[in-house]
């Protein structure tokens, strides 16, 4: 790990000033510290956000939606029974995420901004396309964990368990910098690296995620999160599915279907959701949704099984909404 300066300001404004000057934000450190140890991030200056008041915890103002501070540890969301009643998919997704130690340190904002887990990207000795090299090693290499859809020059997959669950509730993120604040749809935070844009996130330099907001209307949905792993715990998803809907008199409304682990971004196909609108989520409708969501999938040498897995998890997740 390289030498770096470290500061832990109390005021958000001071943190933003440091970020503007090129400091890198540190929260739980569960991803950043690993990147630094592996020589993949070599920041000269770190700004520790954990001293800042007001960015931790969540609140629900009835009728005005729900707000989660970016510095809230994942375990706090997971263990809150009140939140589990309001946003049950969240707890399901977090229970399968990493380990309890990592969930205790890891924060919501850090989880949204974590880098991908591609083992070529994570190998300091491999200069892959995403790191400025000229080719992706996974496309013709060891690619059992890689993307089957939506990828361009780089076949990374979206690693977060939390993100598909938040997307099922139409979450937005509040972003702040020394120039001001803005809101963006959570889905817009994630970008597919392609062409000259070798980024995974749409945040601009100096910007910080301060909160996640969930509109009240989305809280009426019920849903589930399913995750397939290589072992029973402490694994990133081979495939994960978040599904949510309002089911009224046996008919689905307002369906959300997000698949993790198969594409560089959380994979959502509006046509798949639209096709389920008003359906009874019967087997045929579920199969049709899976077809639409996975249309154009092009598996690599070792990851064809993800198509089978995704199809089945989509079916199960959707069927569970009417079970």
């Amino acid at each position: 790990m390289n030498a770096f300066s470290y500061a832990r300001p109390r005021a958000l404004a001071e943190a933003l000033r440091m970020l503007r000057n090129g400091a890198v934000a540190l929260a739980g450190g569960t991803d950043l510290v690993g990147l630094m140890k592996d020589g993949l991030a070599r920041p000269t200056s770190l700004v520790d956000l954990t001293g800042i008041e007001g960015l931790r915890g969540w609140s629900h103002a009835k009728g005005r939606g729900l707000r989660i501070g970016a510095l809230t540890p994942l375990v706090e969301l997971e263990t809150s029974d009140a939140l589990a009643k309001t946003m049950p998919i969240l707890r399901e997704s977090l229970r399968d995420a990493a380990t309890v130690q990592l969930r205790t340190m890891g924060t919501v904002g850090g989880n949204l901004l974590q880098r991908n887990r591609c083992w070529y990207f994570r190998d300091e000795g491999t200069v892959c396309w995403l790191k400025g090299g000229n080719r992706c090693f996974a496309i013709d290499g060891e690619n059992r964990y890689h993307a089957i859809i939506g990828a361009s020059e780089c076949v990374i997959v979206s690693p977060s368990d939390l993100v598909p669950a938040l997307l099922a509730y139409d979450a937005e993120v509040g972003v702040t910098s020394s120039r001001g604040t803005r809101k963006m749809k959570l889905g817009d935070l994630f970008v597919t690296p392609k062409g000259r844009d070798r980024r995974e996130h749409a945040l601009r330099p100096g910007e910080l995620i301060t909160e996640v907001r969930v509109p009240e209307a989305a809280l009426a949905r019920r849903g589930t999160y399913l995750k397939a792993m290589d072992r029973k715990a402490w694994s990133f998803a081979l495939v994960s599915v978040a599904a949510a809907a309002r089911v009224e008199r046996g008919v689905a409304r307002d369906v959300r279907l997000i698949v993790g682990g198969i594409a560089p971004v959380p994979w959502r196909v509006v046509a798949a959701e639209k096709g389920l609108e008003g359906s009874a989520l019967d087997e045929a409708a579920c199969a049709d949704a899976a077809d639409r969501l996975l249309a154009g999938a092009t598996p690599l040498r070792d990851n064809g099984y993800k198509v089978t897995l995704a199809r089945e998890l989509i079916r199960r997740a959707l069927r569970s909404l009417v079970a």
């Binding site: 072992r231 081979l238 897995l309």
Partner: protein
Amino acid sequence: MPRVVKSREEFEGEIFESLVLVEGKDLPVARAGTEFTEIGKSRRRVDGAQRVTGRARYTQDVYLPGMLHVRVLRSPYPRARVRRIDTKKAEALPGVRDVLHRFNAPKAAFRGEDTIFREEVRFVGDEVAAVAADDEQTAVEALRLIEVDYELLPHVVDLEEAIGDVAPRLDTDGNVAEAATHKRGDAKRGLKEADFVIDATYRTSTQLHNSLETHGAVAAWDGEQLTVYESTQHVFGVRTGLRAALKLPFSKIRVLCDYMGGGFGSKGGVGKYSIIASLFTMRLGRPVRCVLTREEENIAAGNRSATLQQMRLGGKDGRITALEHTSWANVGQGKWVANPTGPTNTLYDIANLSSKSYKVVTNAGSLAAFRAPGYVEGTFALESAIDELALKMGVDPLVLRRKHAASPKDPMVGKRYSDKHLIECYRIGAAEIGWQRRRSGGVRGSGPHRRRGIGMATQIWGGGGGPPAYATVHVNPDGTIVLTTGSQDIGTGTRTVLAQICADELGVDLEDVQVRLGDTDNPYGPISAGSLTTASVGPAVRIAARDAREQLLDAAAGVLETPQAELRLEGGVVVTKGARTPLSEILGKVDNNTVIGKGGRHPNDPELSLRTFGAHFADVEVDVRTGEITIEHIVAVHDIGRIINPTTARSQVEGGVIQALGFALSEERFVDRATGRVMNANLENYKVPTVQDVPAKITVKFVDRPDRKANNLGVKGLGEPPIIPTAAAIANAVANATGARVRHAPLTRARVLEALAIAEARS
């Protein structure tokens, strides 16, 4: 009077003959019905409190005053010539004390080569240079400043590519070398005459040891003596390696290993890190620490070879008529091969048999012995194939095995077994798992798309141990005991078991026995490998304790003025007719004395074959839409002679089963073929089982009958047996549950789903 005798021992599936020095007569095995005070009793680990409170000092905990830290520069290429190394910038970094590489390091013998820094590096991770610095961070930074000019050479890392015609030839004789063959009867004819034939190819992936404590050493040279603390399974082996590398006499080398965080076969002798640490300390005069990181551990400290195995089996009239087994193993740059054909040759009484094992070299990290090397891989193929044959023949796979498993003779060497209770293992295991519930095609599971099934597989292994192994028992004037041997406790419970044997034979309380081991200044102890420690060192400890007891009773006879024959030693008390005198009181009357008992292991009977046997049964549930396997229950039954400590024995079996689960379901090294780099040299993507992967139920059973012909305790080893048959039992259970035969371990989702698709297409 010591005398030299011929001895014949089995180690890791091979037979070795040697001359050993023994003294006196061996003790007889205890008569049936003998009441023991310690043997056969469950005891907590004598060092348990030290371990769980963090006081136990492992090699990684050794920090000596003024100690320097070493980091090793490793080849980033799978095959290259090191043309030039420029260390100027690294040496200029403040805190850097010394840099070693192939142009300045002294010659040092290591595994048949005369250097530890090769001119031609042969795998990603091969040692290129080493830096000693004031702290680890400085050493890491210095590595970045070393400039190396490499000439890249063609490479191959994949087993099947290395066998093929287009691969570069890495050895002058080619990449493939025949390592072992065995033939009896006529396998070709047996196959021709069979009514049913199985011809199938099995694969096993490379498994990494991932010992909790990585490889490493701390070396300290005081101008006269080299002291090396090393995480090792064999302090004497390290000493031998250091003598060869450094040209020092044994008297000037002391190797220590007090507590040890696992080796599983990979810490069998001196490592390059110990030689590097020793070279630095002898150049610089300061203690030097060289401990591998997790990544280094997983690229350069050994592995279980990946294998490709072809099995042909013939069946007729409810019996196996022929067995042909050909195996290829990717040994990386290793100089030997763990033959997967071992179980094929020895397990079943099959008249027509032919086996061949090939060693395949590649530009990947070398193999190191890994808990039952060869046997884990071979048993997966053999026992899967036998189930496939049974299914084709329409017979119960357990019934088919029984017909070939009852022979009292070793089918390979023709000698009688010292003891064998394999059929009893089958009986116990079948009853525990509920074999009668097993249905062809499996049964419905706990939910939709879930199938449940039962499978089993057999274990054979050595574990008889043998000489040389020595121990001494020192009795202090207060009646407490120090048991000394050069063996090590690598986490298995050796300290506890040896203390029990000593206390039992001597007639003292367990808490009065201190065990000192892991020191080359102690009497010789063998490598803690090959499941041989209890059966090798245990009998020596018993003789040493008996020797000490005889001397103590002589002393007591003098002090009490009573004939020795009328005295007994029980719980540290000398008992005569009507009187009980504590040992401490008796010794207290004799001015400052030390009573020393000595013992050495006697040879095995060369006319006998010493083997351990066992069987594992698995009850599994499979989600046939997602390929997820859940292990509901594992039954492990082993025939290893007398059990000294049921608690530590059960721990060994549970640990073996869990490590086997990794091999069976999730553990697999990935090497990028283009770059030769290991993609998952970490605990994120190299997936050892988590506690949630451990089955809800592991039932452990022992036949627990002393092998009276094995040694004076009637014991055999248990280190390796419990990892051998689990994967095959699981694969057989999955096949029973679903009809899908997965012929590649680990049984990942991808492989299970593929096999399910094949099974569905067929039906």
